[in-house]
């Protein structure tokens, strides 16, 4: 599991996750996710390259998202595969963490 991040226009931090967000993958990115969330005001989490997610992986999304939201920021999820989105929906996360498949829409949601 790898994590890369980049700063976009408008103060948006884009985090790109690549690999399996299983127990091992979650452990590999948790620290960097939390560090990134510690300063980001607008966070876009790119899930296009995430092939698997379990409850520990969900935790890797929820904890940083909660940190951003506590500071009045915004978080969106971008581009999950169908199976990963099935997990997000089954967890009811989509009700509070918007999922977008169009990058323009995702960026607009953070504006």
């Amino acid at each position: 599991m790898t994590l890369t991040s980049e700063e976009l226009e408008g103060g948006i931090t884009k985090v790109i996750l690549n690999g399996r967000l299983d127990i091992e993958g979650a452990a590999a990115v948790d620290l960097r996710m939390n560090v990134t969330a510690g300063t980001a005001k607008k966070l876009l989490i790119d899930l296009q390259q995430v092939s698997f997610i379990g409850s520990m992986g969900l935790r890797s999304l929820v904890v940083p998202a909660q940190a951003v939201k506590r500071r009045g920021g915004k978080v969106v999820l971008f581009g999950p595969t169908k199976l990963v989105e099935d997990v997000l929906v089954a967890s009811n996360l989509q009700a509070i963490l918007p999922i977008h498949h169009d990058l323009t829409d995702a960026l607009a949601a953070l504006a």
């Binding site: 091992e24 379990g54 939201k69 997990v87 009811n92």
Partner: protein, 176 residues
């Protein structure tokens, strides 16, 4: 009753009538794990081998890996309190149109039950680690629990959904 050679006597002695109906005619695989989260990394490659051998579609494989991760990590973190060195066994039972996975441990009793259906209204109210059982009951077609004399047995059944990448003949060959 003739049991597959790879089925442990301890397991065969304690199988319920339901489980005996689920038992395969001739194929069964077993994965022995240590009770550590690190060792659970062996599960996905094992399921991948089974998927290739038995023509398990990718969508079903995803559900199997998800549910096994939830059950096994629950046992490691809660049943064994994160202590390594304890037994954790997964057995695979292919059937006609479905795949059954049996997880056995020697931990204190714990029966997984479906959580109440709630929709969080705010991100702050969601429990970061509270989704495992919800996912388990959503992605497995059935979840059965049995308390053993000295442990727990959770039986997960998955219907084999045929997708474009898997031919019907391959499934017939693998599961007949």
């Amino acid at each position: 009753m003739h049991w597959p050679r790879s089925l442990s006597p301890a397991l065969s002695d304690t199988l319920s009538p339901t489980m005996t109906q689920l038992l395969p005619h001739h194929v069964l695989r077993r994965l022995s794990l240590d009770s550590s989260l690190a060792d659970l990394a062996r599960v996905s490659p094992w399921v991948g081998e089974l998927a290739g051998e038995f023509g398990i579609p990718s969508e079903t494989r995803f559900a199997i890996e998800l549910c096994l991760e939830e059950v096994l990590s629950n046992v490691v973190r809660h049943g064994y309190a994160g202590e390594s060195g304890h037994d954790l066994i997964v057995q695979f039972v292919p059937g006609d149109g479905d795949a059954v996975f049996v997880v056995e441990d020697r931990a204190p009793a714990f029966e997984p039950r479906p959580p109440a259906e709630t929709v969080p209204d705010d991100l702050s109210t969601i429990r970061p680690g509270g989704q495992g059982l919800r996912l388990l009951f959503r992605f497995a077609n059935s979840v059965a629990y049995e308390r053993l004399a000295d442990g727990n047995r959770v039986t997960l059944r998955f219907e084999l959904k045929i997708n474009e990448s898997v031919t019907g003949s391959r499934i017939d060959q693998g599961l007949s």
